[in-house]
C-alpha cells in the first residue's frame, strides 16, 4: 500500500475567519481559527476518514482543499499541483478531477433544475462528451447510483433524502473525478438509508478507483469505510493512523475518549467497561487554549501541555500523534 502514489497532500493548511466589529466602519477584532495547520496526505484509492466533534473544522478543511473557500495559508497538492497557487480558470478546469458530496441533500440541489439538468450541467460545461450523448450518460449515471433513469426530468423536491443524496453522488461522479470529498454525506439521512449510501460509495470506489476524503462524526461508519483515519480537534489534527491501528491502539487521550464514547452493542460488556467521559465544553476556536488545544479537557494534562504546542509526529510507522505524553 505504501508504494501507491500520493494523490492529495495537504500541507499546513490554515483557515481563519475574521471577526468584524463596529457597524459603519467595521474592523477586525479577532479571528476564528477554524483550521490551524493541518497536514496529511491521501494515496490513490485510499479512503481517509476525518472525524471530530461539530465545529472542529472538518468541513472547513474539506472546502479549503477543494478551494471552495480560499485558505488563509498552507498548500494543497493535488497530483503534485499546488491548488492554492492556481489561478481561477485553471482551477475551474481542475475541478472535474475532484468533486464533493455535500452534507445536506435538501439544500445542495438547485430547486429550479431537474435532476437530469443538474447532472448534465458539468458534462456540458467541461465538454467531456458530445452533446447528443449527454442524455444517455445521465441515464447511465442514474442507474449506477440505483435510481430509475426515467427520473431524469423530475425536480429535486420530488425525491426523498436518500434519493437526493444519490443524485448528489451521481452528480459528483459525472465528471469521472479521482478524488471525492464526502462532507458528512450521511449525517442528514435516516439510519436505514445511511448504510445504503455508504455501501454505494464503497461499490463506486472499487468500480472507478476513487479516492475519498470521508468527513464524518460517526466513528463506526468511519471505521467501516476508511483505510486510514484522522482525528481532529479544534482546528488541529490530534492523531492519524491506519484504521485498525487507530481503533485497536489509540494513543492520543482525545481519541481514546472518543472511542470510549461509542456504545458497544453487548449489554454485558457495556455494563462493565470503564468509559472515559470528557468534562467541559470545547473551547472557542476564536480564543483557543495555549499549547495543546486539548489540554483544558485532557485528564492527563501536565505543565508542558499549556506551554508548548505538541508536534504532530510519527511515533510508529504510519501512526502520527500530537501529544507530549506519547513517547
Amino acid at each position: 500500500m505504501t508504494e501507491q502514489e500520493v494523490l492529495l497532500r495537504v500541507d499546513h493548511l490554515v483557515k481563519y475567519f475574521p471577526i468584524m466589529k463596529g457597524g459603519l466602519f467595521p474592523r477586525q477584532v479577532g479571528a476564528v481559527r477554524a483550521v490551524d495547520g493541518v497536514s496529511f496526505d491521501i494515496r490513490r484509492g485510499d479512503t481517509l476518514g476525518l472525524v471530530g466533534e461539530s465545529g472542529c473544522g472538518k468541513s472547513t478543511t474539506g472546502r479549503n482543499i477543494l478551494q471552495l473557500q480560499v485558505p488563509t495559508s498552507g498548500h494543497v497538492y493535488f497530483e503534485g499541483v499546488d491548488l492554492v497557487a492556481l489561478k481561477p480558470e485553471p482551477m475551474r478546469k481542475m475541478r472535474r478531477r475532484m468533486q464533493m458530496i455535500f452534507q445536506d441533500p435538501y439544500a445542495s440541489l438547485n430547486p429550479r433544475m431537474t435532476i437530469g439538468e443538474i447532472i448534465a450541467e458539468p458534462l456540458i460545461i467541461h465538454g467531456i462528451i458530445p452533446k447528443k450523448e449527454v442524455d444517455g450518460e445521465v441515464e447511465r449515471l442514474l442507474s449506477i447510483v440505483g435510481l430509475n433513469p426515467a427520473y431524469a426530468n423530475r425536480y429535486p423536491h420530488e425525491f426523498s433524502g436518500g434519493q437526493r443524496q444519490r443524485v448528489g453522488v451521481a452528480r459528483a461522479l459525472a465528471l469521472k473525478p479521482s478524488l471525492i470529498v464526502c462532507d458528512e454525506p450521511i449525517s442528514a439521512l435516516d439510519v436505514s438509508i445511511q448504510a445504503q449510501v455508504v455501501n454505494l460509495l464503497e461499490d463506486l470506489q472499487q468500480k472507478f478507483n476513487l479516492t475519498y476524503l470521508f468527513i464524518a462524526h460517526d466513528l463506526s461508519m468511519v471505521r467501516h469505510i476508511s483505510t486510514r483515519v484522522a482525528v481532529m480537534y479544534l482546528g488541529m489534527l490530534m492523531e492519524l493512523a491506519t484504521r485498525d491501528e487507530l481503533y485497536s491502539n489509540p494513543l492520543h487521550p482525545y481519541t481514546q475518549a472518543l472511542l470510549s464514547a461509542v456504545p458497544i452493542p453487548d449489554p454485558m460488556v457495556e455494563e462493565k467497561r470503564q468509559r472515559k467521559i470528557l468534562v467541559g465544553d470545547v473551547p472557542s476556536p476564536a480564543n483557543p487554549p495555549s499549547g495543546c488545544r486539548f489540554r483544558t479537557r485532557c485528564p492527563l494534562a501536565i505543565g508542558i501541555c499549556a506551554e508548548q504546542v505538541p508536534e504532530f509526529r510519527e511515533v510508529r510507522p504510519g501512526h502520527f500523534v500530537a501529544c507530549h505524553l506519547v513517547k
Binding site: R95, F102, N110, I125, L175
Partner: protein, 333 residues
C-alpha cells in the same frame, strides 16, 4: 390549471360588485354634484338642474340608481331598455358631452390605434415605467449583492433608499426643474406625445419607486441565494462564474422579485394620477382625477372599476408566473 383560472376569474365578479357598491356609496356621500360650478363661474340654472337630474335618473332613490347602473334601465327619453354594467356599458359621462365612459376611455382618436386612447396612453406609460424599473433596478440589485459592501453597493443602496422614501411628485418637480426648466432638454408640458423623448421623464418618475424596491428586493434575495448550498455545488462542479451567477443565483433570486412586480405593475397603472396630472399626460389617471373633482359620477365608477379589475388581473397573473418559475409550486383547486 384551466379550472383554477376559471375559478379565479369568477371570483372577479363579487370583487367588482363590492368595489362598485363601495364606490357608489362614497361618491354619493361626497358633497356637491355633477352640476356644480366653481364659485366664481355662472351656476347652472335650478330648473335646468332639475331637468338634468330627471334625464340622468339622479332623482330616483340611490338603490334604484345603483341597480340600473349594474343591470340597466329604460332610457328616460327614448323609453327603450339599455343594458348596464353587466353588458360592459358604463353609462354616459355627465361632463363630456355625447360620450359614454367606455368611449371616452377606450376609443382612440380617429385614424389612431387603441394605444392612443386614454387607457392606451396609461398602459403604455405604466409599461415604460415597469421596463425602466426592471432594466435598471434588477441589475442594480444583482450587482449590489455581488459587490456587497463596496462603494457600488453603497451608491445603489443610496439611490434605492431615495427612491423608496421620496414621493414621486417631489422627484418629478426636481426632474422638471433640472431637465425642463434649466437644461431645456424636454418641454415641461409637451404639446404632442408622439415623440419618444417626452416620455422619458414621466416614465422615469413613475417607475422610480418600483425601481428602488426592485433593486432592494433583488439585492436581498440575491444575498440569500448566494449563500445557498446549491450555489456551492455549482462552483464545485467547475462551472464558470457567469453560469453560476446567471443560472444558479439569479434564476432563483428572481422568484420573489416577480411576485412583487405583478402588484407593482397594477400600482404603476393606478398610481399614475399625480404624475399624469403633473406632466399633463393624456391618460386615464388624469381623467380619473378630473372626474372626481367634477363629480362625474359615471366616470368615477368606470375608472375605479377598471383599476380594480387591473389590480386583480395583475395579482392573478403573478400566481401563474410563479408556477412557471418555481417547479415546487403547483396550482390546485
Amino acid at each position: 390549471m384551466t379550472g383554477y383560472l376559471a375559478k379565479r376569474l369568477l371570483w372577479l365578479i363579487p370583487v367588482i360588485f363590492i368595489v362598485a357598491g363601495l364606490t357608489f356609496i362614497l361618491m354619493h356621500n361626497a358633497p356637491g354634484g355633477p352640476w356644480d360650478r366653481d364659485l366664481n363661474a355662472r351656476q347652472v340654472d335650478p330648473t335646468a338642474q332639475k331637468l338634468l337630474n330627471e334625464y340622468y335618473g339622479l332623482n330616483k332613490p340611490l338603490v334604484n340608481q345603483f341597480t340600473s347602473y349594474l343591470i340597466g334601465g329604460t332610457n328616460t327619453t327614448t323609453h327603450k331598455w339599455v343594458c348596464g354594467l353587466i353588458c360592459g356599458n358604463m353609462g354616459p359621462s355627465y361632463r363630456i358631452r355625447g360620450m359614454s365612459v367606455q368611449q371616452y376611455l377606450f376609443k382612440p382618436p380617429t385614424n389612431r390605434n387603441f394605444f392612443y386612447s386614454k387607457f392606451g396612453y396609461s398602459i403604455r406609460l405604466a409599461f415604460l415605467a415597469l421596463g425602466i424599473a426592471i432594466l435598471v433596478g434588477l441589475p442594480m440589485g444583482v450587482i449590489s449583492a455581488l459587490k456587497q459592501n463596496t462603494w457600488i453597493d453603497y451608491i445603489n443602496l443610496f439611490v434605492a433608499t431615495v427612491g423608496i422614501s421620496v414621493p414621486n411628485f417631489v422627484i418629478a418637480i426636481f426632474l422638471i426643474i433640472i431637465f425642463a426648466s434649466t437644461l431645456h432638454w424636454v418641454s415641461i408640458v409637451p404639446t404632442s406625445w408622439d415623440e419618444l423623448n417626452v416620455w422619458i421623464l414621466p416614465g422615469l418618475v413613475l417607475g422610480f419607486g418600483v425601481l428602488a424596491r426592485t433593486a432592494r428586493l433583488s439585492r436581498a434575495t440575491m444575498l440569500e441565494v448566494m449563500r445557498m448550498d446549491y450555489v456551492r455545488t455549482a462552483r464545485a462542479k467547475g462551472l464558470t462564474e457567469r453560469v453560476v451567477v446567471v443560472r444558479h443565483m439569479i434564476q432563483n433570486a428572481m422568484i420573489p422579485v416577480v411576485t412583487f412586480l405583478g402588484p407593482a405593475l397594477a400600482g404603476l397603472i393606478t398610481g399614475s394620477f399625480i404624475i399624469e396630472t403633473m406632466f399633463g399626460f393624456p391618460g386615464m389617471g388624469r381623467a380619473y382625477v378630473t372626474a372626481i373633482s367634477q363629480r362625474d359620477y359615471s366616470m368615477i365608477m368606470g375608472t375605479t372599476l377598471i383599476y380594480a379589475v387591473l389590480v386583480a388581473i395583475a395579482n392573478l397573473s403573478v400566481d401563474f408566473v410563479y408556477v412557471l418559475l418555481d417547479p415546487r409550486i403547483k396550482l390546485t383547486e
